[in-house]
């Protein structure tokens, strides 16, 4: 798969995405600047497309960074408790402040995602047995424990329903004015690209990286901060999108190897294409209604992950 193929696929899928929906909008309708259809197009369809592109790019990069830093192919925001910790942060912010402001949610969610991921990395340091399967297993359980705390707090303060509807990942509610936080992912992705070489070196192990004159701790912390920023912005605007950060970087690394500077553009491209396809499917299956996109992603993503587990064992051990 070449980069230009991914770019063409992205463009075609974006156009499809812009022109499907409950209200039939044709390209010719857009010529009339003041019409309702143009307004809908600008207020709803374009923001939705932007949100998908940003979330797809962000989540795949977050997964790529985590896999590189932990030296494990199956570590990602889904399998290291990052997304669960971000959720817990939002719930805690709802408990602390009666009328929680958006900004407070962001801060809490970010802080929890960062602490949660950091703790998991510390836990990994303690484990001597760094099997490629074993680590994500611990990570998923770690996430389940954090989720249990979230459910518990939700039950006790009667905000469970609120919380559940909040995290149902969906691009339905994305209209202009409600998704702009996602643009924070752009500088995060650019930073990831600038530091790509350092992440690659850090992925070779602490001792090796230090030998090459790299400040391992700084790079590690920077990576975790980037991952937490991306995860937080995605969770807060569109909800939890599972498995994306897990499978996309793996597919790319099967045919591109592990040099981050080379793989980042492909990872972004494939992440966007994958999420666009899932979103278009979610919109078409029960047209004119919609299936939450995280459900579609989870069905397709977990199936792909299962195939990778059994087919790709040999490859993942490399």
């Amino acid at each position: 798969m070449r980069l230009w193929m991914l770019i063409i696929a992205t463009i075609i899928l974006s156009i499809i995405s812009l022109f499907i929906g409950a209200i039939d909008i044709k390209p010719s309708d857009l010529l009339d600047w003041d019409s309702d259809k143009t307004q809908i197009f600008l207020m709803s369809r374009v923001p939705r497309l932007m949100a998908i592109i940003l979330a797809g790019a962000g989540m795949s990069i977050a997964g790529l960074i985590m896999q590189s830093l932990s030296r494990n192919k199956f570590v990602s925001p889904t399998t290291a408790g990052t997304l669960d910790a971000a959720k817990l942060g939002i719930v805690v912010s709802m408990l602390f402040f009666t009328n929680v402001a958006y900004f407070q949610k962001i801060i809490f969610s970010f802080a929890f995602a960062l602490i949660g991921t950091f703790l998991f990395m510390k836990l990994l340091d303690r484990i001597k047995f760094k099997d490629v399967i074993f680590v994500p297993l611990i990570g998923i359980m770690y996430g389940n424990i954090i989720s249990a705390i979230t459910t518990f707090l939700g039950y006790e303060s009667d905000i469970l329903q609120n919380v559940q509807s909040f995290f149902m990942g969906s691009f339905t509610l994305v209209v202009s004015g409600r998704y702009e936080l996602l643009y924070v992912a752009i500088p995060a992705v650019i930073l990831a690209y600038i530091f790509a070489n350092k992440f690659t070196v850090a992925g070779m192990g602490e001792d090796f990286a230090k030998n090459l004159g790299l400040s391992y701790k700084t790079v590690l912390n920077l990576g975790l901060i980037l991952v937490s920023i991306i995860s937080t912005t995605v969770v807060l605007t569109v909800g939890v999108i599972p498995f994306l950060g897990l499978i996309v970087p793996n597919i790319v690394s099967i045919y591109m190897g592990d040099n981050l500077r080379k793989t980042i553009p492909h990872t972004i491209g494939l992440g966007i294409v994958f999420l666009l396809i899932c979103d278009i499917l979610s919109r078409l299956i029960v047209y004119p209604y919609e299936i939450p996109v995280n459900v579609t992603v989870a069905v397709i993503g977990s199936a792909i992950f299962l195939v990778m587990l059994f087919r790709g064992k040999a490859y993942a051990k490399k």
Binding site: I127, F129, I133, L137, N144, V295, S302, F310
Partner: protein, 318 residues
């Protein structure tokens, strides 16, 4: 070191004390109103506790490990899939929905088929390491769970409401007519499974030794899979999934009751499981006055215990 008989007396006394406490503690208002309701709940907890302990211990013997349980492998998610598919394909007016026995029968048959496929595919000649199986089981669980939400979103809203009442089982919402059915099923399983317990004792020596000693290994494995599926279906239909209960009680039983005899192990695990459920519910409801269901707390403690077990195993292996 206490004798096993002493340990059993201690466990039985604790279990009875908790049952009595739960049934009689702080009954206010109409005794005639509250008491029968509490009895139904206690009965449901006892049935569930025994069913989960029984199926988990048998399942762990045939899969030769102490971490895998039927719930962790996703068998209880299958119950929800079957119910959702029945509603989705046949509708709520179907005989398979209206008739409780028929409905239960279909669910059990589907779960048995699923368990058999899982066993054939995953445990074929011990090819796969245990961590891979665990991770695969969890992902299969996620896949089934997402499939359920996928179908539930595209199902007719009226059918969905009816489906919801069937799936949202909990200890606070036990259906009395189902309780009688499960008592009968549990009794049947004991009569049917009782004859196999000695064979299981021999099977814990390993496949080859057991076959040398004249045990029809594959036949027993098949029977155990059928029995565990029936038991898990019963407990899931009655009170909903409790993922980690089986894991906790079976491992506590292995540690506390030192024996190879399955009759004693199952009895011990059942008692521990009753203590955990009834005692836990009593503490949650009457001592700490929490709104949480016991399942949330069991999943929280179980998750931590699970990580502990994994780390311990990995040290032994690594």
């Amino acid at each position: 070191m206490r004798k096993n008989s002493t340990k059993f007396i201690i466990l039985t006394i604790i279990a009875i004390v908790f049952i009595l406490l739960y049934a009689f503690y702080n009954i206010q208002g109409g005794f005639g109103y509250a008491f029968p309701r509490r009895l139904v709940r206690v009965a449901a907890m006892i049935v569930t506790g025994i069913a989960i302990a029984y199926s988990t211990i048998m399942f762990q013997t045939i899969t030769r490990n102490r971490i895998l349980t039927p719930s962790v492998m996703g068998i209880d998610s299958m119950y929800e899939v079957v119910q959702t598919v029945i509603y989705f394909v046949l509708g709520s007016a179907s005989i398979f929905v209206v008739n409780h026995y028929l409905n239960f029968g279909v669910a059990i048959i589907a779960m048995i088929i699923f368990a058999l496929i899982l066993y054939r595919f995953l445990f074929r000649a011990d090819k796969h390491p245990i961590y891979l199986l665990l991770l695969a089981g969890m992902i299969i669980g996620t896949l089934l769970g997402s499939l359920v939400s996928f179908l539930q979103v595209i199902i007719d809203p009226v059918e969905y409401l009816s489906l919801q009442t069937r799936l949202f089982a909990s200890f606070n919402n036990v259906k009395t007519e189902l309780l009688y059915v499960s008592l009968v099923i549990l009794g049947g399983c004991f009569i049917y499974g009782g004859r196999m317990l000695r064979d299981l004792d021999v099977m814990s020596l390993g496949r080859d030794t057991a076959m040398n000693l004249g045990v029809n290994y594959d036949k027993i494995v098949l029977r155990v899979l059928v029995l565990s599926s029936i038991l898990i279906a019963t407990s899931t239909a009655l009170v909903g999934p409790i993922t980690f209960l089986g894991l906790i009680v079976s491992n506590l039983a292995y540690q506390y009751i030192v024996t190879y005899k399955h009759s004693l192990l199952i009895a011990g695990a059942s008692l521990i499981s009753i203590i955990a459920l009834v005692g836990g519910q009593f503490l949650v409801q009457h001592v700490f006055h929490l709104n949480t269901t016991i399942s949330v707390i069991i999943n929280f403690i179980g998750g931590i215990y699970f990580i502990y077990l994994l780390l311990k195993e990995s040290r032994a292996a690594g």
